[in-house]
């Protein structure tokens, strides 16, 4: 039967999306729906004096004009100013740096450039792209990646002759800088340093990378070069600030995006409530599956993003069952995880272009700049953690012409539910801040050691902070370096300091949950180290995708929890004992009368000692058990708030206790939104009688040893924090607490929500 004759079957993706949106069964799930209108391209002036071979190469690819951001970037870089380019996915960002770099190399073959990408896959990708441009321009560019995959015989060639060296910060840290004499051709002539995916260099990793840049600049100074830095970032609130922190120099912001786009529908979808008591909703994964099936079935090319590899596998196999090809034909649904080779990606890309691939399921490896072109629809299964990554994922859907659809499917996690209830945060608030703290003492001391290995440090040199000399004395005292008579500090130890630490460590690793129900063990998912004692202690009931699992064994050393499927009528609730000791108050701000707002350094220790078994519906306590997991300790930064005394005196201790739990919950969720951070990077603790203040206190701390500046920034945003918390609580339609605001009433008490609201009002 010819469906088009019936008029029921949509013919184009645009018609299919319109039909999808008009479907009545979708409406109950939609928490928000926005439409972004189509935008025509805008062009900037063509750069003067561009090497004619490059102009010809661009023309041959059909590029007759540069978009406004590309033109501005080229102009800024050629004027000798550092730049940070901030434009959405697939807007021709790489041309912004490839153009001026290739032009400079074409003029003077001695010119060198260093490209940094956070992953090897991205570096391999860029190599292909840069070579293609150079080949099209018939410029014999010597470029190669330099990382763990580079064969030894090619390495020495890259060191001596590579004009554009493509690598990652880890290689720069451990293999290039400590051997800089082998690279002196590069460092003598280094004119450009390209840092792509700048937004991924935040938190502890970013703090390390900023120090690697300090070391790089020292070595460049030694060899007499002074490179320009070209950064490219996804949309974040403070790209220029982040770039300036990372490269420690002024940068010019290039963010006037001139790339065209078609009409875009943005949906926030919230699956219906499955468990009233706990506020648990239906599975985001299964909802995603249903939506993707409908869209793909109607010929809408769709990409779905899942947060874990496991979820990618599950969703891929579900969709493959639905869209099973005839025997002997390749699957039309492709999975994409990190670590795929460029060829596999090219196959997906080609498949999407010619229609052989109808759907892709990906982890956030694709979010990170790997270009597979635009699709018709993008589905994010669960909030990716930041507004910036949400927009990056959503940006995968979008054609230059025609309508596209992007949907965020909320999970049961508090932050997802907050966004479902307050979707305007996604649409209207600025995305998060990318924060780094290059002066984190842990980090700084390690890099100062590595730096002293690379070149002696004069006592008057400033490395990051003014008190560098004090740090040098500390390192000397510990026997790492020697203060010689010429007033320089020399590396004076047998070790190779760059191998003593990794740029990506320091962040606590996750605990892997292994399901042993079937014949073969399989990984269900992960929980972070801070939450693990609460969620996967032995005998805990761990709920995953709505299915109960019993934790049979927790191997703390191996960071593994072994679970089996079960079906019981209770859930478990562990008591987490967090102690927090204030070590130093670093700053204090105006607070309402008799209230306190401070920030400083703290020591946080946490331990889980016992859990309760609580029956569904009746909430009877039907048993308990003890937990033996060693105490964890961390020195970090924190800020804390004390509500005015006359306000808290109105409530009894139990009421206040519950309310503080609710306050902590909503504060953590909203803080993570205000800062560019994963909620897991932020710890929170409410104490009814805090030893330090002697009063009810809400502490928020950086859940990373040494701190990365999260709460330092939050301290300047306390007014915003309280305002947003009030909106979250007062604007929530629930009666007395739900996961989207303060948490369910069984956790915060029946007056919990009301008291939180009063406390917030009094603190404003």
């Amino acid at each position: 039967m010819d469906q088009s004759v019936l008029g029921a079957h949509p013919r184009t993706p645009t018609e299919a999306i319109d039909a999808f949106l008009a479907d009545a069964s979708l409406a109950p799930l939609v928490a928000a729906h926005r439409v972004l209108e189509a935008r025509p391209p805008r062009y900037g002036p063509w750069p003067v004096d561009l090497d004619p071979r490059i102009v010809a190469a661009l023309r041959s690819r059909g590029i007759d004009g540069l978009y406004t951001h590309q033109a501005k970037a080229v102009e800024t870089i050629r004027a000798g100013r550092n730049a940070v380019i901030v434009t959405p996915t697939a807007s021709g960002k790489t041309l912004c740096y490839n153009l001026p770099v290739l032009d400079a190399v074409a003029r003077d073959e001695a010119v060198r450039a260093l490209y940094l990408f956070p992953t090897k896959a991205l570096a391999a990708d860029q190599l292909v792209e840069l070579r293609a441009l150079a080949d099209a321009a018939k410029i014999g560019l010597k470029t190669h990646t330099y990382d763990g995959d580079t064969p030894p015989n090619i390495r020495s060639v890259v060191r001596a002759a590579g004009q554009v060296v493509i690598t990652n910060p880890d290689m720069l840290h451990a293999a290039i800088l400590p051997h800089h004499t082998k690279w002196f051709k590069l460092f003598e002539n280094l004119q450009f340093v390209v840092i792509d995916e700048l937004h991924s260099y935040r938190g502890l990793f970013g703090s390390h990378v900023a120090n690697v840049m300090r070391r790089l600049r020292r070595i460049c100074r030694h060899y007499g070069s002074d490179p320009l830095f070209i950064c490219a970032s996804a949309t974040i609130a403070n790209p220029a600030e982040l770039a300036e922190r990372v490269i420690d120099a002024p940068v010019e912001l290039v963010d006037d995006n001139g790339a065209p786009s078609g009409r875009r529908h943005i949906l926030v979808i919230n699956p219906p409530v499955a468990n009233e008591q706990l506020g648990i909703r239906g599975s985001a994964l299964l909802t995603a599956q249903r939506l993707a099936e409908r869209l793909i079935g109607d010929g809408v090319q769709t990409i779905a993003f899942a947060r874990s590899r496991t979820a990618v596998e599950v969703l891929t196999s579900y969709l493959r069952e639905t869209f099973a090809p005839p025997p002997g034909h390749p699957h039309t649904i492709r999975g994409y995880r990190g670590g795929y080779l460029p060829n596999e990606r090219l196959a997906i890309q080609d498949g999407l272009r010619d229609g052989r691939v109808r759907g892709v399921v990906a982890t956030n490896a694709l979010e990170l700049g790997i270009d597979i072109g635009g699709l018709d629809a993008a589905i994010s299964v669960g909030y990716p953690g930041t507004i910036a990554s949400t927009w990056q994922q959503m940006g995968r859907a979008g054609r230059r012409a025609g309508t596209s659809l992007s949907a965020l499917i909320c999970s049961s996690a508090p932050i997802d539910q907050f966004l479902a209830a307050h979707p305007y945060y996604l649409f209207d608030s600025s995305p998060e801040h990318g924060l780094v703290n290059p002066d984190n003492l842990h980090v700084l001391l390690n890099h100062l050691r590595a730096s002293a290995f690379e070149l002696p440090v004069p006592a008057v040199e400033r490395f990051g902070i003014d008190e560098t000399a004090t740090l040098l004395d500390v390192l000397e005292e510990d026997g790492w370096i020697r203060h010689a008579d010429d007033d320089r500090y020399y590396w004076s130890h047998e070790n190779f300091p760059a191998s003593d630490f990794s740029l990506r460590s320091g962040a606590p690793e996750n605990v892997v949950i292994v399901d042993t129900t079937g014949d073969r063990h399989r990984v269900l998912g992960e929980v972070d180290l801070f939450a693990a004692p609460l969620l996967v202690h032995e005998k805990a009931i761990y709920i995953h995708e709505g299915v109960q699992h019993h934790v049979d064994r927790l191997d703390w050393e191996e960071r593994k929890a072994y679970v089996t499927r079960t079906d019981v009528d209770y859930y478990t609730d562990a008591d987490l004992g967090i102690t927090l000791k204030v070590l130093e108050v670093l700053d204090e701000a105006d607070a309402p009368p008799a209230g306190v707002r401070q920030r400083g350094e703290v020591m946080v220790a946490w331990k889980v000692t016992m859990f309760k078994k609580i029956k569904f519906h009746t909430h009877e306590n039907v048993g308990w058990g003890s937990i033996s997991i060693p105490e964890q300790e961390m020195h970090t930064a924190a800020c804390w708030l004390v509500p005015p005394a006359d306000l808290v005196n109105r409530y009894d201790r139990d009421t206040l206790d519950g309310a503080l739990i609710g306050l902590a919950r909503v504060a953590r969720t909203t803080s993570a939104l205000l800062l560019m951070c994963d909620p897991r990077d932020l710890g929170v603790l409410a104490q009814v009688q805090a030893p330090f203040t002697g009063r009810p206190t809400l502490y928020l701390y950086d859940a990373i040893p040494g701190g990365v500046g999260l709460t330092e920034r939050l301290f300047t945003l306390v007014d915003d924090l309280i305002r947003v918390c009030r909106e979250a609580v007062d604007g929530c339609p629930c009666a007395d607490g739900c996961p989207a605001c303060v948490g369910p009433a069984i956790e915060v008490g029946h007056r919990g929500k009301a008291v939180v609201s009063e406390l917030l009002a009094g603190m404003n």
Partner: protein, 410 residues
Amino acid sequence: MIAPRTLADRIAALRGERPRPLPPARPVADDRSAGLARWLGAELRVADVGRVVLVERSVPLPPGTAERLSGLPDACYVDTETTGLSTGVGTVAFLVAIGRVRDDRIVVRQLVLPDYPDEGALLRLVATELADGARLVSYNGRAFDLPILVARLTVHGLFAALAAIPERHDDLLPIARRLFRRPLGGARLADIERGVLGIERVADLPGAEVPGRWFGYLRGGSPDLLAGVLDHNLQDVASLAILEAKIVHLRAGGWRDAEVIDARGMAAELLRDGAAADSLDLLALALDRSLQPDEELGVRRLATRLLVAAGDLERAEGIWRDATRRASVDAASAWIEVARIRERHRHDLAGALEAAAAASRVLDLAFALGRGGSVAEIGRARVAVEGRLRRLRSWVAARERRADRRTAAA
């Protein structure tokens, strides 16, 4: 309000420690280098870029050493002592020794770095000394000592000095490995000294302690800490010359009387020198001795290669026929080698078939007697033997058919 803490307090807290008392003040910059020179009985070279302590010592060489070396271009025997084992730029050579053979002695100049700021002076002096020779001789210097010197010269921007270092660099480690590693079970210089050169070190400083000695001296320790390092280093340099002379001697026919030598390695060296006949002699001699099975196999293979190259196919076959007398997998392998020589080089298919059939019979026998290899080994050998046998049979049959056709046509 608590009192603001100092950075030092924060550092201490970060490490979970109490602030430590200040370290004792560093001794004033008295001229420790002069003291060091006095203690070591050395000369102190003072340049405007720094000071270098120069110790010159000479050691008698065993009789004949200088004579054996006299045919080679004038060498600088080089060994460094460093602050670590990584070749990253932060590793510094604090002692560079350069030995020159003069008459029957080796004269070693040990350049000692009094402190980091003097490194430029030391490196300049090192480069000048090295430029005076026609080549460098070292033990693992290609991978270690020289890269470190190059890195340090580059850091100091001493490119002219770097360019003056002779290009020829004879690293003795690779050849010492080929000649001695298998028989000695190792090829560290100390292994060679003990097993080949007959040098026994007394009270030698373990290499791992070397960096700590210099750090200890820098931090105010006695110059005596370095005395042991200098002795250790002096012996290293002297051994280099003695080892090179030993290698010259072995190559020049000394291999005939050598007690410790890897036959394959030495034969390869002789071959490299163009002495194929000597190489064969050596292998034949080696086969007369009792060798380890895997070593014997290697020696036979190399000897076969040499004989085939020399066109002496009869002797090449003989190398293996000696080994076919036992009922074992090895004997079957030897028959296969014979078959290969007959097939490939003598173009004698019938003979090859005969040898392959013999291999098959040896395997049957070995299996029946339950010796000469595990069942799996025999099984694997069986697969190889039967394959070759089948191939040879079909070729021989094909040739016979062709011959028959030719006869019929005629």
